[in-house]
């Protein structure tokens, strides 16, 4: 993060481990600090924060670097948090551009900067286009059209008040704004869902220590990722990775086992686990079929369900079936609907489990045909357009004259234009002339 407010923004979310706030601007340049990223009381991640006081930095401005855990999810959350606290996303090549402007780079390097801007903006545009999933681009097009129509109706009253055309009724205009706002709202809300699809559907694997969560994860990921050992509680932090099953991206999250423990670090792990359950779309409750009776399992499930968010789905999976009689086990747990029995270690029934993920995805709320916003930039633009429209609605209610309303409409169009391409005054006139008979 670079710029004159970088330190102020960082100070709003970076805390020491003991929870004390930090004035980042008071930190010495070129120093590294350990702490947490926190919003309200929710800790997002433990991070290292590196401070560069301008002009001794890449851009020659004040810079803060965050080193967080290697998860796209955490990165996205951190970026969103920074935006909420007043930062904005850098344009393509902007850091280098700023470095150049602040005379940090010499002439030869300038050409490289120019090439960089040219190439990165081309790629980022391509990426943005690819990111338009589902009906996003169509929805946005309709939205833009509606807004252009709205702006045209207002302009019509102003520039063509002498013409024999019917001007829009204020109530109709209000309804139009409301309906546009509704769509924008839905799109903004879809962002979280969109992120889910883009970053993988989060699947939390939870269970008592040593129920085989790490083994299951490794089998699913088909590589040795988590530390596997016979000592319960080996996985102390959350480990995650993506895998694509039938073309759908799942992000599997191994968690620390859930148990009462006095080990401080493990306690943190357990509370993290519950957080992860909250944020996951699918929760796999894994248990060792030797360890639990159906009664005990019920108790465990009930506890998990307390932490479940209402849109997520629970899959109960009995592990280590290779060491047990299947008929007996099935009878014991007959009371649990849709329960699955596997052996992660021996790869028994793994395909059935994989299929279950895909089925759940297909039938669940995560519906890919629904229009979703997957790009932070788009989300931000929509959000800003929405706030501008709020002012428009307010002005309509107060019966403010059109040329003043127009100031906010144009702001909304500008923000939306960041996604759809700019709307020029000429576009508005074009629209007016095509719809209304103007001219003496």
């Amino acid at each position: 993060m670079s710029g004159k407010n970088a330190f102020a923004i960082a100070s709003r979310l970076f805390y020491k481990m003991n929870g004390k706030s930090v004035d980042v601007s008071k930190l010495k340049t070129h120093t590294v600090h350990f702490g947490v990223i926190k919003e309200k009381d929710i800790v997002l991640d433990e991070v290292l924060l590196t401070v560069f006081v301008g002009p001794h930095s890449y851009t020659a401005e004040d810079i803060v670097e965050f080193s967080c855990h290697g998860s796209r999810f955490i990165q996205q959350q951190l970026i969103q948090l920074l935006i909420r606290k007043g930062a904005r996303l850098a344009d393509a090549g902007e850091f280098t551009f700023r470095a150049f402007f602040n005379k940090r780079l010499d002439l030869v390097q300038a050409e490289a900067v120019a090439d960089l801007i040219a190439s990165t903006s081309a790629t980022s545009h391509q990426v943005a286009m690819q990111q338009m999933r589902g009906g996003f681009s169509t929805k946005i097009k309709v939205l833009r059209e509606n807004l252009v129509n709205f702006a045209s109706l207002i302009e019509l009253e102003l520039d063509f008040s002498e013409e024999d055309v019917e001007f829009a009724d204020r109530d109709d205009l209000k309804n139009l704004v409301l309906s546009i706002q509704k769509v924008i709202h839905r799109l903004v809300e879809s962002f979280e869902l969109g992120n889910v699809i883009k970053n993988g559907i989060p699947v939390a694997i939870v269970g008592k220590p040593n129920s085989g969560k790490s083994t299951l994860l490794n089998v699913l990921l088909e590589e040795d990722r988590a530390i596997v050992s016979e000592i319960p509680g080996t996985t102390r932090d959350v480990i995650e990775d993506d895998i694509s099953i039938d073309g759908i991206l799942f992000r599997f999250i191994d968690t620390a086992g859930i148990r009462q423990t006095s080990d401080l670090i493990e306690q943190i792990g357990v509370s993290r686990t519950f957080e992860k359950i909250q944020k996951s779309s699918i929760i796999v409750y894994l248990f060792d079929v030797h360890e639990l009776t159906s009664k005990e399992l019920q108790k465990e499930i009930d506890e998990i369900k307390e932490h479940l968010n209402e849109r997520s789905q629970l899959i109960i999976v009995g592990n280590k079936i290779d060491k047990e009689d299947l008929v007996y086990t099935e009878r014991e747990f007959a009371g649990f609907k849709d329960i699955l029995f596997i052996s992660a270690k021996e790869r028994i029934n793994m395909d059935a489990l994989r299929k279950r993920f895909v089925d759940l995805f297909d039938s669940r709320t995560i519906n890919v045909t629904e229009t979703v916003v997957t790009n932070v930039r788009h989300m931000q633009a929509l959000h800003n357009a929405g706030s501008a429209l709020e002012k428009v609605y307010d002005s309509l209610n107060k019966n403010v004259s059109g040329e003043l309303i127009s100031v906010d409409i144009k702001a909304a169009l500008h923000h939306l234009g960041l996604i759809t391409g700019e709307v020029t005054n000429e576009d508005l006139l074009q629209n007016i002339f095509s719809k209304f008979c103007i001219g003496k």
């Binding site: 344009d91 393509a92 090549g93 551009f97 150049f100 402007f101 002439l107 300038a110 050409e111 900067v113 120019a114 090439d115 801007i117 040219a118 903006s121 302009e155 009253e157 102003l158 520039d159 063509f160 008040s161 002498e162 013409e163 024999d164 107060k398 019966n399 403010v400 004259s401 059109g402 040329e403 003043l404 127009s406 100031v407 020029t424 005054n425 000429e426 508005l428 006139l429 002339f433 008979c437 103007i438 001219g439 003496k440």
Partner: protein, 635 residues
């Protein structure tokens, strides 16, 4: 026979007249060449000045010290402030004028302007000299008239209007001409094309003129002038309607009537002979000034179209049928006319017609309106693809100013988009070009709230005074207005008012009453509350305000009531101003910047924008291209 002039103006329409006046008033020796001395400053289309956005332009011309405002006032037969129901940024002055008087008044004012000579002849070509040996390219050095006379000048302003290869169409008849009954001008386009200019064709049209005595006004709606008419000029005593003038005149009325299905049916019978529909007219006409045949085709679902019946002057019986522009055969025009309510017995003075003429795509100009190809040669008005008297006149005054500045080696005078509609107009033309006749709309301006008709003098007069154009009298008036309006604002912001004093006001405008003393400004900021309301109920405020010109009080009121919006737009201007100040070198080699997109390279090389700000408005130049340009400028 002729001296070497500083500025030779070719054409004496709205652009040419303003150009001549501006250059002469700044001290240049000016020659105004026209094909016909009897038709100086003709209103070739409707007899009216101003209107929405155009009225603001006339106010700006006046603030700069041009003549259009004064002449429009003096020859007005009706005044209306359009858009009164909206905020002050939308208020737009408009006059209905006496066509004959308007032209006479212009000629009179030009004749009284020192330094303006006249000559009647057609200009058939320009005298071009080669490089002056300084590598700055070819320069214009004068004109050659139809009679073969060479007249030398340091600069030439072309304001040929619709006369360059003008071709008039009525039905399937067509004949050369610049207006009906007037010859077209030939030779200049061909010469300019040879010199490397790109030219194109445009089309415009005009409605039939009617004998007012043959109309039945009882079948039409009446349209009155304002009860309390304002005026264009910031100077005193220019309006014939002012109550304190010796013989205040009574305003004329206009009328409104409508076409109907019968009118449309008759018009349709002429379509097979319509030069528009048969493709004989090649030029593109304006979408916002369509012919009646265009309207009934494009908006077939509409049962009627509005028509304005506008008198042509105080004494004449001729009326102008605004809204009925047509190039259909004259017999079809006439037959259709008689089906219009009130026109049953109409007599036609002359039929409507369409006219095609040459224009030069304006991207070939600098922001000073000087051509990029030939130094000291300026284009203004319809030759640049615009339409409208006001659009032409404001280009004229800017070309006149810049021609004078150039030959005196002074810095050019360029108005920003945030400073004037004139700035918006010229920047649009030069940066984006136009493929249909360009007309001003308020929606073309990004900073509409700042570009109001009430503050045109505050925005522009000090600049013009500094240039040596606006008079000291104008300048001092503006200074006074600014000072007074600040005093009024200070009064409203510092003085408090008692509930007993103000509550009757609030009650009258159904705004909620106050319970304790508040600053007057806070009450004024409410919607529906005006300064007049204060003066009606509070004697002390009325007495305080009486020491100021009313104009200053209104200025203060607008600045206070719209403070939030004004400062919002001002902030936006400040933010973008940095880009407007980054000047690009004129012979910058864009072709070498391979990091630019190829479209941007091509457009930039062609338009050669003056600043980064202007470059950013060229279509096809992306923000990434702008960043790259800035990187290179950093050198």
């Amino acid at each position: 026979m002729f001296q070497t002039y500083d500025v030779i103006v070719v054409g004496a329409g709205h652009a040419g007249c303003e150009a001549a006046a501006a250059a002469a008033n700044m001290g240049s020796k000016v020659l105004l060449v026209t094909m016909n001395m009897q038709t100086i400053a003709q209103m070739s289309c409707n007899p009216a000045m101003g209107g929405i956005a155009k009225g603001q332009i006339v106010r700006e011309i006046d603030a700069l010290g041009g003549y259009s405002g004064i002449i429009s006032d003096k020859t007005a037969i009706q005044f209306r402030m359009l858009n009164r129901s909206k905020g002050p940024a939308m208020w737009s002055p408009r006059t209905q004028n006496d066509r004959q008087l308007f032209a006479n008044e212009w000629r009179l004012m030009l004749e009284q302007t020192p330094n303006v000579d006249f000559f009647q002849d057609m200009v058939k070509s320009l005298i071009i000299t080669g490089d002056d040996g300084d590598g700055r390219g070819t320069r214009v050095a004068g004109i050659i008239t139809g009679m073969g006379i060479e007249i030398h000048g340091k600069s030439v302003i072309l304001t040929n209007g619709t006369f360059l290869n003008g071709l008039i169409h009525i039905g399937d008849k067509q004949f050369g001409g610049g207006r009906t009954g007037e010859k077209a001008a030939t030779g200049i386009t061909e010469q300019l094309v040879t010199l490397g200019f790109e030219s194109g064709r445009m089309k415009t049209g005009t409605p039939p003129r009617i004998d007012g005595r043959s109309l039945d006004h009882s079948k039409m709606e009446i349209q009155n002038g304002d009860e309390d008419p304002a005026k264009f000029s910031f100077l005193d005593n220019t309006s014939p309607f002012e109550k304190n003038s010796t013989f205040p005149k009574k305003q004329h009325n206009c009328w409104i009537t409508y076409t109907n299905a019968a009118v449309h049916d008759i018009l349709k019978t002429g379509f097979e002979k319509s030069p528009m529909f048969t493709g004989r007219i090649k030029g593109l006409g304006p979408r916002y000034c369509p012919s009646i045949e265009d309207k009934i085709t494009r908006f077939a679902e509409r049962e009627r179209h509005q028509l304005f019946v506008e008198p042509e002057g105080w004494d004449t019986v001729e009326v102008y049928l605004n809204g009925f522009s047509t190039s259909l055969p004259e017999d079809v025009q006439y037959a259709a006319l008689t089906k219009i309510p009130g026109f049953e017995k109409a007599k036609m003075f002359r039929p409507g017609y369409a006219i095609e003429y040459d224009y030069f795509p304006p991207q070939q100009l600098h922001l000073t309106l000087e051509t990029k190809l030939i130094r000291n040669l300026y284009f203004a008005g319809q030759i640049n693809g615009t339409t409208g008297y006001e659009e032409a006149a404001c280009q004229g005054i800017m070309a006149g100013i810049n021609a004078h500045l150039k030959i005196n080696d002074r810095a050019p005078f360029i108005l920003q988009r945030s400073e004037a509609y004139i700035g918006v107009l010229i920047d649009d033309l030069v940066t984006k070009g136009t493929d249909e006749p360009y007309r001003m709309f308020t929606s073309r301006a990004e900073y509409r709230i700042l570009l109001r008709q009430d503050n045109a003098d505050v925005r522009l007069t000090p600049k013009s005074f500094e240039l040596g154009l606006a008079s000291k009298e104008r300048y001092e008036r503006v200074q006074e207005k600014v000072k007074q309006s600040h005093e009024v604002m200070r009064y409203f912001k510092n003085e408090s008012i008692d509930p007993s004093e103000i509550n009757p006001v609030l009650e009258a405008v159904s705004s909620s009453p106050i319970n304790q003393k508040v600053k007057m400004f806070n009450v004024l900021a409410r919607p529906n509350v005006t300064i007049i309301d204060f003066t009606l109920y509070c004697i002390r405020i009325k007495e305080f305000l009486q020491q100021f010109r009313w104009e200053s009080v209104v200025q203060a009121e607008i600045l206070m009531k719209y403070e939030g919006y004004i400062s919002k737009e001002s902030e936006m201007v400040d933010k973008l101003q940095r880009l407007e100040e980054l000047v690009l070198h004129e012979d910058f080699d864009y072709k070498q910047l391979t990091s630019l997109s190829s479209e941007a390279r091509e457009k930039l090389a062609k338009i050669r924008p003056r600043t980064i700000g202007q470059a950013s408005r060229i279509s096809g130049v992306s923000p990434a291209d702008i960043s790259i340009l800035m990187v290179y400028m950093g050198r």
